[in-house]
């Protein structure tokens, strides 16, 4: 082993692996179920009355019904049951942490510790519909009402789809060149490999009545007041545009990056072999973003990937399943340590120093002891934040915030008349794709009620 300390060149390189390895590492983590396997699994469902799984699904999919439709080989009906409640049913089948949602509630967990594989069955039922590409829903007669949707992520597109379905005309304003939000730029590649996210969006747009305006950012190219004047209603689904700072010295060294930025680059990369990755990678954080960057850098060929989190495993927002997945992928997880400083040479990071932590009277405190990890790359994954600036233009009528995000009521109404919001940019619910989809759908129904009044 070559000894590398401060003052030595960072070991960052592209093309660390053979081409087949990239293909294997970024292929579907959970390959689709074959017909026989799907039938056996579908028949494990008890078709519960008042089924707990339905309640555990943020979008309230009629899970026993769609599973029964798989069992009776009414696959088209099954897919439709799912998409009626959740137009992103295909994505959700792949990205939902089912182990803490529907599958955690499945009565088979209590009975035998093994839930019905709801997520994989959902994929089995939705894949054919998406592959066929024909949109299964028809729009209601046009209402002549126009709604502006800001943000083309799961929340915005779910809202747009439902509004279009109900007969309204929708314009989606999206800051980026491509729609999809974190489905397109954030979620781990192996969960939605290839162009799944794009294809799904094409499918969703197949409803018609949704006009797209990409490359248009609220606050830069558009103003909220103008949207409120020009449209009958406005929905904000802007996600979280900012990231938390580490507040540790050395954060601005080269080689220190936001995990979400690197993942966005990875998700858009024409070739994974072209992505430079460090030999030794340190990830700071405890959520799914931390897990995702750790696993994906390992899969790009990083030799040592260490994830450092300031509290214990149960406090991590990454589920136990995700943590285990990272470990299986050779990621080392160190708990109870917080960053002290990042140091380097020639302006590039070379080492990350941490202080051990513990709880003192329920509060996190440093122990005074520390350790250092050599690092060619350091990723910050300590949370994203909502950036309210684009909404601050009209000080006379400010949008009410709550914990730094947009405040809404249950239906998604903000403090401004005619303005709804949903998804990660709001204070309600978990930061999950499925929650964003539900927020968008619920707001659309609320908007529809308001516009028909």
């Amino acid at each position: 082993m070559t000894k590398q300390g401060p003052g030595v060149q960072p070991d960052i390189a592209a093309g660390r692996l053979e081409p087949e390895a990239y293909r294997a590492h970024f292929a579907d983590v959970h390959p689709p179920l074959a017909r026989e396997a799907a039938l056996v699994e579908a028949n494990r469902c008890y078709f519960c009355y008042d089924a707990p799984c339905i309640e555990a699904c943020p979008t309230g999919i009629d899970i026993p019904q769609f599973i029964r439709q798989i069992a009776t080989e009414n696959l088209a009906g099954s897919g439709r049951t799912i998409l009626e409640a959740n137009i992103f049913g295909g994505s959700c089948a792949r990205v939902c942490p089912t182990e803490v949602l529907c599958e955690a509630a499945c009565v088979r967990v209590a009975q035998e510790g093994k839930p019905v594989a709801i997520g994989r069955l959902q994929r089995y039922a939705t894949d054919p519909l998406l592959e066929e590409g024909r949109h299964p829903f028809a729009r209601a007669p046009r209402t002549g009402k126009r709604v502006a949707v800001v943000g083309g992520g799961p929340a915005g597109l779910s809202c747009a789809h439902r509004l279009a379905l109900l007969g309204h005309d929708v314009t989606v304003f999206e800051a980026r060149e491509r729609l999809g939000g974190l489905n397109e730029y954030g979620v781990a590649e192996y969960k939605v490999p290839g162009h799944f996210a794009r294809n799904e969006i094409d499918f969703i747009l197949g409803i018609g009545g949704i006009e797209l305006s990409t490359g248009k950012a609220l606050g830069r190219d558009l103003e909220l007041s103008a949207l409120r004047r020009g449209f009958d209603a406005v929905f904000l689904g802007m996600g979280l545009a900012g990231v938390n700072a580490l507040d540790a010295p050395g954060e601005d060294l080269k080689g220190v990056m936001n995990a979400v930025d690197y993942i966005a680059e990875l998700r858009q990369a024409a070739s994974f072999a072209g992505l430079p990755v460090g030999r030794r990678v340190v990830v700071i954080g405890g959520g799914n973003t931390a897990i995702d960057i750790a696993v994906q850098t390992r899969r790009l060929g990083a030799e040592d990937v260490t994830l450092v989190y300031r509290r214990g495993p149960e406090a991590m927002s990454a589920t136990a399943h995700e943590q285990e997945f990272a470990q299986i992928n050779g990621v080392k997880i160190k708990h109870w340590a917080r960053p002290l400083r990042l140091t380097g040479s020639n302006g590039h990071v070379a080492e990350a120093a941490f202080e051990y932590t513990r709880l003192v009277n329920g509060k996190l405190a440093g122990t005074g002891e520390s350790f250092a990890l050599p690092a060619d790359m350091v990723f910050k994954a300590i949370g994203q934040v909502f950036v309210a600036d684009p909404l601050r233009e009209d000080a006379s009528e400010p949008l009410e915030l709550e914990d730094g995000r947009i405040h809404t009521d249950e239906e998604g109404r903000t403090s401004l008349a005619g303005v709804w919001a949903g998804g990660d940019c709001t204070a309600r619910g978990e930061d999950l794709t499925v929650q964003a989809v539900e927020d968008g759908k619920r707001a659309a129904l609320s908007i529809d009620r308001a516009l028909r009044r």
Binding site: L39, Y46, C48, Y49, D50, A51, P52, R108, A110, Q111
Partner: protein, 424 residues
């Protein structure tokens, strides 16, 4: 280990597990493999007169139930399609090589005394242990005046049985068709004709499924299908009932019974024996899994008998027969209600919705603090057992007895019965 030696109609076998007359017993090759695997006896695939019949291609249909294959099975095959001479030669050889196993030859020839006489003489020469008269085949043969066409007419059953008893020294087993209104009519006829035993059931007239693309019954033969003989696990309840009817019928005079129909395990076999069967015959299960299933049948039955201290098959054979009675003699004072073990309950709600929608609204659903709870309302519960069977958790729902010291009251004496007998 318990002694499984079987003796029925004067035929001995080391265990009660025989292969029924069907493809598994079609020829020497199969039968030798079966004996090597441990089967106690075989009933050779039914022989007829030359020229042999011809079978269709596409002969079977299977019924899958929720991912379980061959819950039911159907076939449109006829009797053996091999020359008589070849079969007889092989039978003779097998019996010589396997003297301790039961080898019974199934027969079906036209309803003429000469025909039966002719074939019986030839079978006798093989040294076979007995014959089984196939009065049961529901398809193909009955159209030619054989099989079920005979089995459905008690007078014919009696007549042919009598001919056979006259023309052979071999024990005669009469195989009964279930495609009758009451199994007792042909069973009694067989007894009158002098049969040494009856075996049942043969397959049930059926269409197992319809191919909705080809719009034809399964199995489809070049676009068309016909009714077949239904068998496999799904028919066991039908067979058990018919066996019990014969076992408890005085006119059948305790005729030995070989039980057939859906037997797949030692447990199935034990149930048939508890209802009076002295031996059992198996077809579909062997066709599904191969001959090796007999290993656990022998082992499992022996261990179960040891556990119950039954040293021989006779120790429990027919033990359930006295408890099979007519509905009118059941105690109407007996009252049970469901009990849900709340610690085992997984909150699937199936008991509630079943009772609520289709029975007696006796399981209340409630929520306390988000937690689901299902509870029996004793006053409404009639003790029907529905919830017990829909509950997916073993032992979660049990039925407890509520009537204390009410005595026996059956329909024959019930006040609601206009024809009741006066109380003594």
């Amino acid at each position: 280990m318990a002694d499984l030696t079987t003796r029925i109609a004067g035929i001995k076998s080391p265990n009660p597990f025989w292969l029924a007359s069907a493809p598994p017993t079609d020829k020497e090759y199969n039968v030798v493999r079966a004996f090597k695997a441990g089967w106690g006896g075989v009933v050779w695939k039914t022989l007829g007169e030359d020229p042999p019949i011809v079978n269709t291609s596409s002969r079977y249909g299977g019924l899958s139930y929720k991912g379980n294959r061959v819950a039911g099975f159907t076939n449109i095959e006829l009797i053996t399609d091999r020359p008589l001479e070849l079969n007889l030669r092989e039978i003779k050889q097998v019996k010589r090589d396997w003297p301790d196993r039961a080898l019974i030859v199934s027969l079906m020839v036209p309803c003429e005394e000469e025909a039966w006489k002719r074939i019986l003489r030839r079978v006798e020469e093989t040294g076979a242990d007995g014959v089984e008269l196939n009065f049961g085949c529901p398809h193909g043969m009955s159209e030619r005046g054989m099989g079920a066409a005979v089995g459905q007419v008690p007078d014919y059953v009696e007549m042919v049985t009598r001919w056979c008893k006259q023309h052979t020294r071999m024990p005669v087993i009469v195989k009964l068709t279930p495609n009758v209104a009451s199994i007792l009519a042909p069973a009694r006829a067989a007894v009158r004709g002098g049969a040494d035993a009856v075996s049942l059931i043969n397959t049930i007239n059926s269409i197992i499924a319809v191919d909705l693309d080809r719009m034809a019954p399964i199995p489809v033969v070049d676009g068309k299908g016909t009714h077949g003989g239904y068998c496999g696990p799904a028919v066991k309840p039908v067979a058990l009932h018919m066996v019990a009817e014969i076992a408890r019928d005085p006119e059948c005079r305790n005729i030995p019974i070989a039980g057939i129909g859906g037997i797949e395990s030692w447990r199935d076999a034990a149930e048939f024996m508890a209802l009076g069967a002295g031996a059992v015959q198996v077809c579909t299960a062997a066709m599904h899994y191969g001959f090796r299933i007999v290993g656990d049948m022998i082992d499992g039955l022996g261990r179960w008998m040891d556990g119950k201290s039954y040293p021989r098959l006779d120790a429990f054979r027919g033990k359930a027969v006295p408890n099979v009675t007519d509905w009118q003699f059941l105690n109407l004072n007996y009252q049970i209600v469901a009990r849900i073990d709340q610690d085992l309950c997984v909150k699937c709600g199936l008991c509630h919705i079943a009772c609520e929608d289709t029975a007696h609204q006796a399981i209340a659903a409630s929520r306390s603090g988000g937690e689901r709870r299902y509870e029996v309302v004793d006053q409404e519960c009639v003790g029907c057992n529905l919830c017990l069977y829909v509950c997916p958790v073993e032992d979660c729902i049990t039925m407890v007895r509520l009537d204390q010291d009410k005595g026996h009251l059956d329909w024959t004496r019930h006040p609601n019965n206009p024809l009741r007998k006066a109380a003594e």
